[in-house]
């Protein structure tokens, strides 16, 4: 019987399991991740397999979780901690910004730790369970930010994040957990942080995006193709910091039209950083203005009709692409 397709969630669980199996220095902790298996069941079965001294529950203390992870990392462990929702990491941002992100620069001591943070919306989670905060994390010196969109990438990039000698924020878009499946290779490819991937080729325009929006962009590109035959490239950034600027510039050179899509807020969003990069380095290659399609600058609304208006999706991306291609 061929192996079944693997969900995004299961791929992450497999990476965690393999990390615990192969690396005695890996420990995991967070809220409800032990016997309960986590709010989304990403850590299901791990405490049973590896024991409560390697996978354990903590009090509801995000700052203590991140701070303790930093202390552990400096002593030779590799903590992989879970923020139950990335929204809740905001009560502990100072541990990342001021402590974890500055430690190596100030003292030369490395802090290999991973902060797993389920993020994003699309399921009526309301303002405090749907936020997409990658721009906050990317703004911090000394922190790496990984934001996968496919199960195989999530599995490989989580391994790479845990083995990196730096603090890494690993963003898990909750919408992908159970909506996205794929066949996973039996052999685990080694994966380096900082490499984007063309997940749909095209020569008429490129969508620069990451996370759940990659899947919306691929669907939008297919809609555009069906409608007017245009070929739209989709570039999945996969890692936001370090950013694969070479792949972005190559994609711009190959298409000359750029649409940036993300589900985080507009002002100061990560798309602004990408737009600035393209404007600074590839302005001469552009046939049209750089466009951004993002969430608007309002809190994430609860009611599904409002959230649909709030969150970018394939139809909105298609509309933007059709207009961009006309430009």
């Amino acid at each position: 019987m061929p192996p079944a397709e693997t969900t995004f969630l299961e791929a992450i669980r497999q990476a965690l399991q393999r990390l615990l199996r192969e690396h005695a220095d890996v420990v995991m902790f967070g809220q409800d991740i032990g016997a309960f298996g986590g709010a989304f069941k990403v850590t299901a079965g791990l405490q049973k397999e590896f024991g409560a001294d390697r996978v354990f529950d903590t009090p509801i203390s995000e700052s203590a979780i991140l701070g303790a992870a930093l202390g552990m990392a400096t002593m030779g462990l590799r903590p992989v901690v879970e923020m139950q929702f990335s929204d809740f990491a905001t009560t502990a941002l100072h541990q990342l910004l001021n402590n974890a992100g500055t430690l190596h620069y100030r003292t030369g001591v490395a802090a290999p730790l991973v902060v797993r943070a389920p993020c994003g919306g699309g399921f009526a989670g309301g303002p405090f369970h749907s936020e997409d905060l990658e721009a906050f994390f990317c703004h911090m010196p000394g922190i790496k930010v990984v934001y996968p969109s496919f199960p195989a990438d999530a599995r490989a990039l989580l391994m790479a994040s845990a083995l990196d000698p730096n603090p890494v924020v690993f963003l898990e878009n909750k919408y992908l957990y159970r909506h996205v499946k794929e066949w996973l290779p039996t052999a685990w490819a080694p994966s380096a942080l900082g490499a984007a991937r063309v997940c749909r080729p095209g020569s008429d325009a490129v969508v620069l995006t990451y996370g759940a929006m990659v899947h919306e962009a691929i669907r939008a590109a297919e809609l555009v193709h069906a409608e007017d035959g245009g070929e739209v490239m989709v570039l999945d950034l996969r890692t936001l910091k370090p950013l694969d600027t070479d792949s972005i510039l190559a994609a711009v050179a190959a298409t000359n039209r750029v649409l940036i899509v993300h589900e985080g807020w507009h002002t100061g969003g990560f798309g602004a950083e990408i737009a600035a990069l393209v404007a600074e380095r590839a302005f001469h290659l552009l046939d049209a203005p750089i466009w951004r399609l993002t969430a608007p600058d309002c809190p994430v609304p609860f009611s599904p009709e409002l959230e649909k208006a709030y969150r970018p999706n394939a139809e909105k991306i298609r509309d933007a692409l059709l207009e961009l291609l006309e430009h």
């Binding site: 203390s61 700052s63 203590a64 552990m72 400096t74 462990l77 402590n99 003292t107 000394g142 000698p165």
Partner: protein, 325 residues
């Protein structure tokens, strides 16, 4: 305690020396600050030298420390050299932070000392995790986490102590109640009668101590840490003391009542230690004076050495943001 019976002459002299070393370094830093020869601020531990000195004196190589801004004695007690301290304050390339951070924001982890950051309370979860990890890796560490009276109002103080209590992490949370947080007196900082009362809420022991008696404190914390090594657990140790200067040297501290300072001046930890040692006939006045002279010479030499050390090369600005390999 009976100093003559409970402590050797050498141990008592080492405690006094530790306090004198910090005091004389800080006196030099104050002069440099007012001459405009120091980059940034200078924050002193005048009056609080007994706490870091006594607690490091009873520690072992495996123990971990998270000092605050007035705890130069912790760094000295763990072996950081006066030359490195001057390099740090003078922003030198070879200092503990290679010019990346200033004044008291340093820590040599190979000596078990975490580098302080300005956000009060932020180091308390870090050292808690550090002790958990070090013990897991086979080194029986006890943690010494220092915080001021003002720092007890932070969320991290609460999160870290509760976290350490839940997991029975052997950390001594040392509150240095120096009566003022910048300009804010205790009465505007907390409503409990004593900060020792906070311990009950975490289900841990709360212990009061005289933070200005280095000999008494070394004996008290020595017994406490010996017990914690046998029965690992978090403990709150509240040391009463007094900040004898302004918050920093930019601050004249004029909001502190003069009579309060005068009363605490009589309890200066260096004066108290001297008097106790003389009364117990552990040393003669001439010996103690000679110790101070030797310390002052050492401090002067360390400063001169650091002064001749190079400043960082601006071309290294981006070095070390990320760890490699």
């Amino acid at each position: 305690m009976n100093p003559q019976k409970d402590i050797s002459k050498d141990a008592a002299l080492a405690l006094l020396r530790g306090m004198l070393l910090a005091r004389r370094i800080e006196e030099r830093l104050i002069r440099l600050y007012h001459q405009g020869s120091i980059f940034g601020g200078v924050y002193c531990g005048f009056g609080q030298e007994a706490i870091g000195t006594a607690t490091t004196a009873v520690s072992t190589a495996d123990d971990l420390f998270a000092p605050c801004i007035r705890d130069m004695t912790v760094h000295l007690g763990r072996g950081t050299t006066p030359r490195d301290i001057f390099r740090q304050f003078l922003g030198r390339a070879q200092g503990p932070t290679r010019g990346r951070d200033g004044n008291i924001h340093y820590g040599e982890l190979h000596r078990g000392v975490f580098a302080f950051i300005s956000h009060l309370g932020a180091m308390l979860p870090v050292i808690t995790g550090g002790v958990m990890a070090r013990r897991r890796l086979g080194r029986p560490a006890v943690g010494f986490a220092y915080i001021g009276d003002g720092g007890t109002s932070t969320g991290d103080f609460h999160e870290a102590i509760n976290f350490a209590a839940v997991f029975d992490v052997p950390v001594i949370f040392v509150v240095e109640n120096n009566q003022f947080a910048y300009s804010t007196p205790n009465v505007h900082q907390f409503r409990c009668t004593s900060l020792v009362d906070r311990a009950a809420g975490y289900g841990i022991e709360g212990i009061a101590a005289d933070g200005n008696d280095v000999l008494g404190l070394a004996a008290q914390v020595g017994a406490l840490v010996a017990d914690i090594r046998v029965k690992p657990r978090a403990v709150l140790l509240v040391c009463e003391t007094m900040r004898m200067r302004g918050h920093g040297e930019h601050d004249d501290g004029s909001y502190v009542p003069r009579e309060l300072l005068a009363a605490w001046a009589k309890r200066c930890p260096i004066v108290v230690a001297r008097e106790k040692m003389l009364a117990a006939k552990l040393a003669t006045a001439a010996e103690l004076d000679a110790l101070d002279v030797a310390v002052q010479a050492e401090v002067g030499e360390a400063y001169q050495q650091a002064l001749s050390d190079p400043l960082p090369n601006p071309a290294t600005l981006m070095e070390g943001v990320y760890a490699t390999g």
